[in-house]
Amino acid sequence: MTSMKILIVDDSITIRRIITNALKTVGFPETVEAANGRDALEKLTTTNVDFIITDWNMPEMNGLDFIKQVRANPIFSALPILMITTRGTEHDVIEALQAKVNSYIVKPFTPQELKEKIEGILKTVQVNTI
């Protein structure tokens, strides 16, 4: 099991629990949660995080704006980000990629899908830092 700490950002308590449990089953037990983008930005300043999983549709600050804020901040800009959302149009995916999200999953997801996406992102990030 890895000690990588993952920040889960979603306004649904149910989804945060499901993602947390799914991450535990695939070997990522360390997680921290936030209910929206604004809350998540605050968490980033107080907790060392290695990976971000975020929803899109959230009150206060949505996922897309959150990602843009993270990428604009030199302290956190290199953090890998996976978006898990119900939004699944071509336009949505392109918009998210333009905001520099690393990968994208349309809900509902399986733990295996989650694991493959995270490992894929980590591999890409490692390659880019070599």
Partner: protein, 247 residues
């Protein structure tokens, strides 16, 4: 009368003549417009009545749907809590089964037997037959752990654990339906707001400040169908294009 004054009067008369001619053309048009307004005003009045009722009912419907969402989220949380307890119990039982202890009674009995066999071996001074008994007991214990009911039980328990995980994942539907409900409410609210603006200009018997406020739109009314295999394939295709620098 001076010529200048006469010219001024003639000018005014000509202007008056143009005005009257214009009036002759416009009066029928104004009559038609008035007839049209008289004809549609009952329909506008009916529409206004419907919109007024909707402006009261739509916030109530939004509130009710909000309560539905809260209730389903609470139910999902309760199910997740129960599943967490089940998974923890299953972990414990699987651990016990894997270490060969099917039940605490059987485990205690097994330990006792092992102690008795060892004592026998020591007391007999490593008598050949007693040593063979000890070896046979050891083999039997290993067999119990590696095959038969124990391994089947472990497999069944792990299947139960997987079923718990499946139930947990199925609860994602609560979030998806909440988003769909929000999108539907958003569409209804947008239509209602449009109708309200349309009918407000005709009548002012119900002032805007007497209408209950519409709840805020959390989700834009454009959430499309999600979760289907084609949608995921499309997303993966776009991600591949992005990685290849084609986007």
């Amino acid at each position: 009368m001076k010529q200048q004054e006469l010219d001024g009067i003639l000018q005014k008369a000509a202007e008056l003549k143009v005005f009257c001619e214009y009036g002759e053309r416009t009066v029928p048009v104004i009559d038609e417009i008035a007839a049209f307004v008289r004809e549609i005003s009952p329909a506008i009045e009916d529409l206004r009545a419907v919109v007024e009722v909707s402006m009261v009912n739509i916030p109530k419907a939004a509130e009710q749907l909000g309560r539905v969402t809260q209730a389903t989220e609470q139910a999902s949380t309760d199910i997740l809590n129960t599943l967490d307890r089940m998974m923890a119990t299953l972990d414990e039982v699987i651990g016990s089964v894997a270490s060969g202890m099917i039940s605490s009674d059987l485990g205690a009995a097994t330990k006792k037997m092992a102690a008795i066999v060892k004592s026998l071996v020591d007391k007999s001074g490593w008598d050949e037959d007693i040593v063979k008994l000890a070896e046979a007991w050891d083999f039997h214990l290993q067999s119990m752990r590696m095959s038969g009911p124990t391994s089947n039980l472990e497999r069944l328990l792990k299947d139960l654990q997987n079923d718990c995980t499946e139930i947990m994942l199925a609860l994602q539907v609560q979030d998806i339906t909440q988003q769909h409900i929000g999108a539907v409410m958003g569409t209804i609210q947008a239509v209602a707001e449009g109708l309200r603006k349309l009918t407000t200009g005709f009548f002012s018997t119900m002032a805007d400040e007497n209408l209950p406020p519409l709840p805020p739109l959390l989700i834009q009314p454009d959430v499309e169908n999600v979760g289907d295999v084609e949608r995921k394939k499309m997303v993966e295709a776009l991600l591949s294009k992005a990685r290849a620098g084609q986007l």
